[in-house]
Structures are given as structure tokens and as C-alpha cells.
């Protein structure tokens, strides 16, 4: 277990390093001179003098490696720079928008779990029968519908036609219903299939036969004995697809005008607010690696054999 955590931490450092180089290089390659952009934003008359002064102030006259070193030093002190547009520290902006994205993610996960659990259990209980076919069909559709389009359909139906729920912005809990549904529905179908496969696999294990032979109730066999082993593949796929979950938040936040991290990133791209883009990319990178660390830790909780450091999971 410990070496797993260690490997993840090494990966975290490596990824951060790679990301820092990448974003730094891209920033330097980016079209348009950030100095002129900054001056333009202030709507001042651009003179040679104040251009040179600003260039010096930002350290853009120094050799590239020195610039990188300085930028890195700042980064280590959690200084992600200042937004070109708003003039505020990028970190503050990130922190201000993080809660919305987290709310949305949690909402999406709740929707996903509430749909995929019963669907997966039903499909595994009756393999080859109609609940199984329904879940297969839903999974196909779920994997084929663009999430932004589903969001639009939901807005049309529930916000516009029925007028039950608000379609955009942030406010009370009901503002989060449609976004959470949009994010959760697409995932639900896929995870229901995964759960089905995992359950069918673990239900065929000997220890299930042993538990049944001891006369333990069928629902208990399913929930206590089969479910936990079935979660392993589900969790590992979840770890691998954190990316598509985050991508989903970008789409959903933009679609519903939620002030989250994703919509911030998209806005920053249109405004060429490079420090914000950089901050977003670095921050999400760290989040992905950290979530993967959590996923690794959850294996230990799911299977005590891993916790005890016994490699052979037979």
C-alpha cells in the first residue's frame, strides 16, 4: 500500500513538472504579445516607454530559463500569477470557483449512483432477460448521446416547456438539478454495465456458493458478499475516466452558465487570459492525480488483501 502511495506522489511531482514545462512553453509560443494585451486592456495609449517598463516589470527581458525558474519559484509559493483581464490573483479565482464545480460533480455522481446501482443489480440478477436488454440499450444510447445535447434537451423540456426548473445560473438547490442530471445520466449507463459485469463475475465465485450454502439470504449475498468485489473494476474504470468527468463539468458549466472552474477555463481561452488558462490546467492536473491516489487507497478499503500488502489477489 505504501509503495502505491509513494509511486503516486512521484507521479504527481513528475506530472507537475511536465505540465509546468508544457504550459510555460505554450505560453511563450502563444500568438499575441501579452505585454501589448495587458496595455490594451487598460485602454491607455501605448508608448514605447511604458511598454518597455512593463516588459521589465514582468521580467520578460530576462533569458527564458531564468524566467522559467522565477515562474517555478512563484508556483511553489502557490503564486499562479495574475489574471490579465480581472487583475486578481489566479489562485483566488480558482478557489472562488472550485465549490461550484465540486457541487456539480457531487450532484452528477449522486445521479449516476442512483441510476446505475439499481440498473446494474437488475441486469446482473436477470442476465439475458429484459432488464439486461434494457440496460444494454440504455448503455448504448448513453455512450452515444453528446452530453451537451442531452443538456439542451433537458433544458427544453424541464425549463422551457414545463417550466419546473431554472435553466441557468446559480442559486438555490434546484439550479443544480438539471446540470447534475446532464452530468450523471451519461455516466450512469456505462457504470450500470460495468457493475453488471462485475457482479456476474463475483457471483460466479466459490465463496458466493459457500455463502448461499450457509443459508444466507439472497439480498444479503448480493449486497454484502458479491457487491464489494464487483466494485473493484468499477472503481478502477472510474479512476481512469476522471478525465471525462472533468470534461463533462466543462461542458455542463458552460451550458448552464454555472460559475465553475470549467466555464472559467473556457472563458479564459476566449479572452486569451493565459495565466488563468495555465492555472486551470495545472490545478486540474493536480486534482486528477490526487483523485487517482484516492482511488488507489479505496482498493485497500475494498480488498483487505491489498491493505495487508499481500500482492497475490487470487
Amino acid at each position: 500500500m505504501l509503495h502505491l502511495i509513494k509511486a503516486r506522489l512521484v507521479q504527481l511531482v513528475f506530472v507537475l513538472f511536465l505540465l509546468s514545462i508544457l504550459t510555460f512553453t505554450l505560453m511563450k509560443l502563444a500568438p499575441g504579445d501579452p505585454v501589448l494585451l495587458l496595455l490594451g486592456a487598460d485602454e491607455l495609449v501605448v508608448t514605447q516607454d511604458n511598454e518597455a517598463a512593463l516588459r521589465k516589470e514582468l521580467g520578460f527581458d530576462l533569458p527564458i530559463l531564468v524566467q522559467y525558474g522565477q515562474w517555478m519559484l512563484n508556483l511553489l509559493q502557490l503564486d499562479l500569477g495574475t489574471s490579465y483581464i480581472k487583475g486578481k490573483p489566479v489562485l483566488d479565482e480558482l478557489m472562488a470557483r472550485l465549490p461550484t464545480t465540486m457541487e456539480l460533480t457531487v450532484g452528477g455522481l449522486i445521479v449516476m449512483i442512483m441510476i446505475s446501482l439499481p440498473l446494474g443489480f437488475l441486469a446482473a440478477k436477470y442476465p439475458g432477460r429484459w432488464p439486461d436488454h434494457v440496460s444494454r440499450l440504455l448503455a448504448l444510447i448513453g455512450a452515444s448521446i453528446p452530453s451537451f445535447w442531452m443538456g439542451l434537451l433537458l433544458i427544453y423540456a424541464f425549463a422551457f416547456k414545463l417550466q419546473w426548473l431554472p435553466s441557468m445560473g446559480k442559486g438555490s438547490w434546484n439550479h443544480m438539478v438539471l446540470p447534475s442530471l446532464t452530468l450523471g445520466l451519461a455516466m450512469a449507463a456505462v457504470y450500470a454495465r460495468l457493475l453488471r459485469a462485475g457482479l456476474l463475475d463475483s457471483l460466479s465465485q466459490e465463496y458466493i456458493r459457500a455463502a448461499r450454502a450457509r443459508g444466507i439470504a439472497e439480498w444479503r449475498v448480493m449486497l454484502k458478499h458479491a457487491f464489494r468485489a464487483a466494485l473493484m473494476p468499477v472503481v478502477s474504470v472510474f479512476g481512469m475516466s476522471i478525465g471525462s468527468l472533468l470534461a463533462g463539468t466543462v461542458v455542463v458549466e458552460t451550458l448552464f452558465s454555472l460559475p465553475g472552474l470549467g466555464s472559467m477555463g473556457v472563458q479564459a481561452i476566449f479572452q486569451r487570459d493565459y495565466p488563468v488558462i495555465q492555472g486551470y490546467v495545472l490545478f486540474t492536473g493536480v486534482c486528477v492525480v490526487l483523485i487517482n491516489l484516492l482511488v488507489d487507497l479505496s482498493y485497500g478499503w475494498l480488498d483487505p488483501r491489498i491493505r495487508q500488502g499481500k500482492g497475490d489477489v487470487s
Binding site: A211, G215, I216, R220, A229, P304
Partner: protein
């Protein structure tokens, strides 16, 4: 081994039992017209090579045949009552309290990520209305009876025990519900010879204490010869020969039985002999190894 007098009504009786495999529209009969009878306190060994249908028979008795297999004819009488038409719920009640199971793969006797003690308590509470405390006391008691360090095993995960320990725990889990019939499906195949002898000794001992009948499924005719009262030899889904163990050993009639008997001297016997000598030398040897 002294015969326990077989009195009273049979615990288990199979009458013309047939089991059939459905595969799409085709079906294939895997077990043909099986007849068996088992009385309280008796041990009956069902012997045959893998694929002979002996484990299927055990599963049928337990009501755990799965989706593609079906009982296509005959009766399974438990204490005189035919359980074939029973509902799933009724059969579940029977499993555990009426019929216990100990099986080959000791790895699979317990769910790997739940502590042994928890699984014992769960099993006890599934059949009796007990508090967790009471169930724990009973579980510890039984772990002690099969010669395990109760406290430690209770708090262990299955993978933390050795194969022999796990099989002992499985026997305790099966017998603590006081079933009148214990099905032992190749209980020692996955164990080494020394451990398997001590496990079989333990089964004998517990049988004489509780008086339950044992249906022992094995591929090893020689090993069951001295453990069973009656033996039925199965081949390709049919019983080819059955009778008292003594008769089978001394006067087998069917060619297949003769072949099984003649197969090379088994390590089991050599080791058992060695074990006996060792124990004789050491006086009271620690059988737990």
C-alpha cells in the same frame, strides 16, 4: 472404525434423480436415475472422477444448481419430504440448518474481504434470533471446538489463515447450525496430505458428537475407504456399484471400481502411516501441526 447403528428414518434419500443441462434448445442428461439413502450418523461416500456428476448431485441436494441446470426427474427426500418442488425461500432455510456444506476449495469457503468472525455471526443470525453478543459467543465456542485459536481467528480475514485452518473454520461454520446432514465436497483435495488426515479425523470426531450424517464427495476411493460406512461409485452420471465400505474394499465387482482400487499406492496411505508412527513415537502429538 466402529459402526454407528443406523436406526431411524433416512435423513436423505435420492429416488431416480436425474439432472439435465439446458444449452439453448439442446439438453443433455448429466446424472441418470440416481438412488441413494443416508441414515443419521452414517457416512456415505460418493466416489468418481471429475465430471462423473457427483458434485452436481451435491448441488442438487443443496438447491444450488444455477440457471442452466435442472432436475429433470426423481425426488430428493430430506427427512422424508421431497424438496424438489420447494420455493427458493424454503430451500434457503434448509441450507445451513438442515444441510451444511464443506467444500474442496478452502480459498472459497469464506468471502475474502469479510472477517471470519463477522461471517460466523452473519450465518448464525440468519437462522436464529440471536444478539450479536450471543452469536459471537457461539461462534467462538465452535472455533474452539475445531481446535482453532478462537479469538485470533474470529478477528482474521480468511487469507490470514492457513489452508487447514480455513477448512477447520469452514467445518465449524457448517456444523454450528447443527445440520442433520453435512455435505463434504472434496473437503481435502486442496490440502496437503497431513492436514487432510487431521481434517478428516476432526470430521469423524464431530460426527460422533453431533450425530449428523455425512455425504462425502471424493475422487479418491482409497482415502474414503476407512472413513465411510457405505460407498457409491459413480461413472458418467450413473452409480456403477454401491455397498458397505468393507465389501467394496474386499470384493469389488465392477471393473471400474477395481481399477480405482488398483491405482498406484496413494501418498495418502504412506503419509497416514508415517503420521501414525510419528504420533506413536511422540506420545501425544500435536495434531494441529
Amino acid at each position: 472404525m466402529t459402526q454407528i447403528l443406523s436406526i431411524g428414518a433416512p435423513i436423505l434419500e435420492l429416488k431416480d434423480l436425474s439432472i439435465c443441462l439446458h444449452h439453448g434448445k439442446q439438453h443433455q442428461i448429466l446424472v441418470h436415475d440416481l438412488n441413494l439413502m443416508l441414515r443419521p450418523g452414517e457416512t456415505l461416500a460418493l466416489v468418481g472422477e471429475s465430471g462423473s456428476g457427483k458434485s452436481l448431485t451435491a448441488n442438487a441436494v443443496l438447491g444450488l444448481l444455477g440457471n442452466s441446470l435442472q432436475i429433470s426427474g426423481g425426488q430428493i427426500l430430506v427427512c422424508g419430504e421431497d424438496i424438489v418442488p420447494w420455493s427458493d425461500k424454503e430451500r434457503r432455510k434448509l441450507r445451513g440448518t438442515g444441510i451444511g456444506l464443506v467444500f474442496q476449495d478452502y480459498q472459497g469457503s469464506f468471502t475474502p474481504f469479510i472477517k471470519i468472525g463477522k461471517q460466523f455471526v452473519e450465518t448464525l443470525r440468519s437462522h436464529n434470533s440471536l444478539s450479536v453478543q450471543e452469536a459471537k459467543l457461539q461462534a467462538m465456542n465452535w472455533l474452539g471446538r475445531v481446535g482453532l485459536p478462537a479469538e485470533r481467528v474470529f478477528n482474521s480475514y480468511p487469507f490470514q489463515l492457513s489452508g487447514g485452518q480455513r477448512q477447520r473454520a469452514a467445518i465449524a461454520a457448517a456444523l454450528m447450525l447443527k445440520p442433520s446432514l453435512l455435505i463434504a465436497d472434496e473437503p481435502t483435495t486442496a490440502l496437503d496430505v497431513l492436514t487432510s488426515e487431521t481434517v478428516l479425523d476432526l470430521l469423524d470426531e464431530l460426527q460422533s458428537q453431533t450425530g449428523c450424517a455425512i455425504l462425502m464427495i471424493s475422487h479418491d476411493l482409497r482415502q474414503v475407504l476407512k472413513r465411510a460406512d457405505t460407498i457409491a461409485v459413480m461413472k458418467e452420471g450413473r452409480i456403477v456399484e454401491s455397498g458397505a465400505a468393507e465389501v467394496i474394499r474386499t470384493r469389488p465387482t465392477h471393473a471400474y471400481t477395481k481399477m480405482l482400487l488398483k491405482s498406484r499406492p496413494l501418498l495418502t496411505e504412506i503419509h497416514a502411516q508415517l503420521l501414525a508412527e510419528e504420533q506413536a513415537l511422540a506420545g501425544t502429538g500435536d495434531r494441529l501441526a
